[in-house]
């Protein structure tokens, strides 16, 4: 009898405890939360500063994709909500904003970054707080993180095929590697230098040059490019210049009469967005290497462009490769979440490998175990309306290789996040997983 009294007295207390516990758990784990509560998606792109020229349109793309997904009924029956922050081309601020998105806003995944320095800046934050970043821009490789999905090109999906095109189709024998001074151009140029020397190019036929972000005085450098190109061998410039420094660079090339037929410049960070609002008549014939161009002839592309022009209400907007990368990355994330039934990062990481979604050039893209995707490689020439004419493409899809085969430090490394390896930098020769990103 006394036991019953005790139990009945304890029951409301236990119920209260249970309710509080559920509430606390629910607050920490969004997957258990009530129906209809929005899933937050972080958008981490510079909306001001030197990189705004490239990144602002990616924020708009994400907003469009989220809107479209909401029109289709949201994700797991819940609406998606975008959380937009502006890290203002300030690399340490990227890390702060990322932390805010994960801890304060509780985003389920973040789509963002452009420069590799911004990605390196946020990497420890995403790894510490175990959240997901979808990174849509071509980069230098030498990284594979459990928490990052690289939907942009690795060097073997952009830089190497571009050099192959110049060497084999155009007959280039002298090389100028010009870049902005930070990790992406420095590492890419290391890889390209090793690759060129491996294929027999002499030291004196390679010139490497770095400039700061926002560099505006290109007179001397363009003059050097011209004299380097006067040695009688076909010369080309491989440009990893990023941000608005490209505008005065191309202007100076035009002013000093460096035409694409004499010394072609192939760029890895210049696309339709950087060229819009710019008179490209003096640049006709210069090249870019990407995995997508707005001018690609495919139905999915036509549809995407129509939707984009509708969404922005501006007929003059353009689409570009990082936008396609976000399109692919977002659709892969949605598919993985639906497959896993939850937005929990660990479940999504397991579910997303092998997920295949359509790309915008009429084919498909698959997420590989090393967190890179398969992409076609396209080389395009700038036209006088800021669009690109595709002059060469790979026969099939190229799978992204996180660890370059041309550098001694990464030749023996591979990444595979599926069990049993579950390692970002596994050394196949020694059989060791070093456990940290180099």
């Amino acid at each position: 009898m006394s036991a019953r009294t005790h139990t009945s007295a304890r029951l409301p207390g236990l119920a209260l405890l249970g309710a509080v516990a559920t509430g606390v758990l629910a607050a920490q784990n969004p997957a258990l939360a009530q129906e209809g509560e929005p899933i937050k998606v972080g958008i981490l792109h510079s909306l001001s500063g030197t990189m705004a020229i490239s990144e602002t349109t990616l924020k708009d793309t994400m907003l469009m994709l989220i809107d479209q997904q909401n029109e289709r009924g949201g994700l797991l029956g819940r609406p998606l909500e975008a959380v937009v922050v502006d890290p203002a081309s300030d690399w340490p601020l990227f890390a702060e904003k990322a932390r805010g998105l994960i801890e304060n806003d509780g985003v389920a995944a973040t789509f963002g970054c452009w420069t590799s320095v911004s990605r390196k800046s946020v990497l420890p934050v995403f790894e510490e707080l175990d959240s997901l970043l979808f990174y849509p821009v071509q980069y230098e490789g030498e990284e594979s993180s459990k928490n990052v999905f690289y939907t942009g090109a690795a060097p073997n999906q952009q830089a190497i095929p571009a050099v192959d095109y110049l060497r084999d189709e155009i007959g280039v024998e002298r090389w100028i590697l010009a870049g902005t001074d930070y990790v992406y151009p420095r590492t890419t140029n290391k890889i390209l230098e090793a690759y060129l020397k491996d294929s027999g190019v002499a030291d004196e036929d390679i010139m490497i040059n770095y400039t700061p972000f926002g560099h505006a005085d290109w007179q001397s450098i363009v003059s050097e490019i011209k004299s380097f190109g006067e040695a009688g061998k076909k010369t080309a410039v491989v440009s990893t210049v990023n941000g608005d420094a490209n505008v005065p660079f191309y202007k100076e090339l035009g002013n000093q009469g460096v035409s694409a037929e004499d010394i072609p410049v192939i760029a890895f960070s210049v696309g339709e967005e950087e060229l819009s609002g710019f008179d490209t008549a003096p640049l006709v014939g210069h090249l870019a290497a990407w995995n997508y161009f707005m001018s690609v002839d495919a139905e999915t592309n036509d549809e995407f462009i129509d939707q984009w022009l509708d969404h922005t209400g501006d007929d003059n907007r353009v689409t570009n490769d990082p936008m396609e990368a976000h399109y692919i990355g977002f659709n892969m994330w949605v598919k993985a979440v639906e497959k896993a039934g939850t937005t929990d990062p660990a479940a999504v990481q397991a579910a997303i490998i092998g997920v295949t979604v359509p790309n915008l050039s009429g084919g498909y893209s698959a997420m590989m175990p090393n967190h890179h995707i398969t992409k076609p490689v396209l080389i395009g020439e700038i036209q006088d309306d800021g669009q690109f004419e595709i002059v060469w493409e790979t026969a099939g899809l190229v799978a992204g290789d996180a660890w370059s085969d041309f550098l001694d430090s990464s030749r023996d490394l591979m990444a595979d996040w599926q069990p049993p390896l579950s390692c970002g930098n596994y050394n196949v020769v020694t059989g060791e997983c070093s456990g940290q990103n180099l």
Partner: protein
């Protein structure tokens, strides 16, 4: 989204003509592209669908044909006015009306209706095809009656002298009426004769070519200098090569000097406003960069107002920027700086805050991204000296503008009443006031003058670099460097200091790279200031010591 259909012309004759034009479809060759007549159909099909060298061969065939319209067709392919209408697979000439294009038959020019821009596909050109087209059009231009076209054609010949044979070349030389172009043709002939069997012909060619400093000629002469059989030819070629190398080196120095003066002129323009507010008044104005930025935005604004006359917009933006930024400068002085005279640290902080406010104001009101500013016609292009030294026009204009602004300021300060009052207030305020000069009014106007000149600098910079809210940040440090180096309070110091820093930076750049050059210049400046804290041209006199 419903796509508009092509609206055919109403004439039934045209309909018949179109159908007739389509007949080759059913013929044995099965041409997939329609151009207007069977021969052109085949040609364009080869051009559009052929692989390997087929497109180049097609172009060559067109150039070799006897057709009257071949040049027009080649030019239309090159400039993109000939396009493929996707639905009818017909090659048409288009006239672009924004998003809709009018189509015309390429043979007889009849109107074929119109369609939206995405219904047309550009004829695929790459660098190789473009180069082929240019050289074909140029060689067609060799016999043109228009001097300009002939010049273009002959200059293309200088790059590829073997595209015409010797007898044709002689005929062209005979027929050439312009002496300048005749000289160029003789040079082409000389390039051909470098490979002649006869040593005296080769010798003659070397003599003619010595004056030609183009890289191909220089390489050809140095090859002869090393490897020619005849000793007299070798000697002549060696002499010519040495002379050419000497000239090239001299032009190289001249070019570096020009680059340095150009960079220097930008530094001077940016710093000279600061030389007035910091130098004359002793006010540390951290918002100086933003005043430059606002001047650049004035230039953009004027271009938005007058999009059709860029030159007028640029010229008008000078007084507009001067008055606008000058007014803002006076406002800043009246509202903030006036209360902080004699307190440099507070002035620094306050003006730093103002700079942040101005930046964010521009980001909010206009846009956080860069805005496009175009160069007007008279500032685009280069001045070529001896075919080697190229001075870009926009930088030449900025250099001239910098010297003009400097001269005007000098005259203002030395020879006008206002200048006299400014100098007297800065040297000895109390005495000046005792003489009846309203020193507070002079202070406002002086600061306004410095700000106005910053606005002028902004207009000049808008022609050379990206215009965005962060423009000021890129120049504030350089401006202070120039003023401190040149000597506070001295305009000549600013000029000499700015030009020196620019030239030193550009001298170092080829050796050390852009980043290291800047670092070296900064280190040099720090060491210089240790030795001469007052800069290059320090102010002298009792009054100056008192500051």
């Amino acid at each position: 989204m419903c796509r508009d259909r092509v609206v055919p012309a109403r004439s039934p004759l045209l309909l018949v003509a179109l159908i007739t034009a389509l007949i080759p479809f059913s013929s044995a060759n099965g041409a997939a592209v329609v151009a207007g007549d069977p021969w052109l159909d085949d040609l364009f099909t080869e051009f559009v669908e052929g692989r390997g060298t087929a497109p180049v061969d097609a172009l060559q065939a067109l150039a070799n044909s006897e057709r009257e319209d071949k040049r027009a067709l080649l030019e239309g392919i090159l400039d993109g006015t000939l396009m493929l209408h996707k639905e009818s697979t017909q090659i048409v000439r288009v006239e672009k009306q924004d998003r809709r294009y009018d189509m015309f038959n390429i043979v007889d020019g009849t109107a074929l209706g119109e369609d939206r821009s995405r219904a047309f596909k550009r004829l695929k050109l790459d660098n190789r095809l473009r180069a082929t087209l240019r050289s074909l059009i140029a060689s067609l231009g060799l016999r043109s009656t228009d001097t300009g076209e002939r010049r273009v054609a002959i200059e293309a010949l200088l790059d590829k002298p073997d595209t015409v044979d010797a007898p044709t070349l002689d005929a062209l030389i005979e027929a050439e009426s312009s002496p300048e172009l005749a000289t160029l043709l003789l040079r082409v002939k000389a390039l051909q004769q470098l490979g002649s069997i006869n040593p005296s012909t080769r010798l003659q060619a070397v003599t003619i070519l010595q004056a030609d400093l183009s890289p191909d000629t220089r390489r050809a002469l140095s090859r002869l200098a090393d490897a020619d059989d005849a000793p007299e030819v070798r000697e002549a070629a060696q002499q010519a090569s040495a002379e050419q190398a000497r000239k090239i080196t001299l032009y190289g120095y001249a070019e570096t000097l020009f680059f340095g003066l150009s960079l220097g002129s930008i530094l001077v323009l940016a710093a000279i406003g600061l030389a007035i507010s910091f130098g004359v008044m002793g006010v540390i104005n951290m918002a100086h960069g933003e005043l430059i930025m606002l001047g650049a935005y004035c230039s953009w604004g004027m271009q938005q107002l007058l999009p059709d006359s860029l030159a007028l917009a640029l010229i008008l933006s000078l007084p507009v920027a001067f008055l606008f930024t000058g007014a803002i400068g006076i406002a800043i002085e009246r509202s903030v700086i006036r209360f902080l005279y004699g307190r440099p640290l507070e002035t620094l902080l306050a003006t730093f805050g103002i700079s942040l406010i101005l930046q964010q104001l521009v980001r909010t009101v206009i846009s956080p991204q860069n805005v496009p500013v175009s160069n007007p016609e008279f500032m685009s292009g280069v001045v070529q000296i001896d075919g080697v030294l190229e001075l870009t026009l926009n930088r030449l204009w900025v250099l001239g503008f910098c010297l003009a602004v400097f001269a005007m300021l000098l005259i203002l300060l030395r020879h006008t009443r206002f200048g006299l009052e400014v100098r007297s207030v800065s040297q000895n305020r109390d005495m000046a006031r005792a003489m009846g000069i309203r020193s507070s009014r002079i202070d406002s106007l002086t600061f306004g003058l410095g700000a106005g000149v910053a606005g002028l600098a902004g207009v000049a910079l808008s022609q050379l670099t990206n215009v965005g809210p962060n423009l000021g940040q890129a120049y504030i440090v350089d401006s202070f460097m120039v003023v401190v180096f040149g000597g506070v309070g001295n305009l000549w110091g600013t000029l000499v200091g700015g030009m020196t820093l620019g030239v030193v930076n550009k001298l170092l750049e080829p050796w050390a790279g852009a980043i290291l050059a800047k670092i070296v210049v900064l280190v040099f400046l720090i060491m210089f200031i240790q030795k001469r804290p007052r800069g290059l041209f320090p102010q002298r006199g009792r009054a100056a010591e008192g500051h």
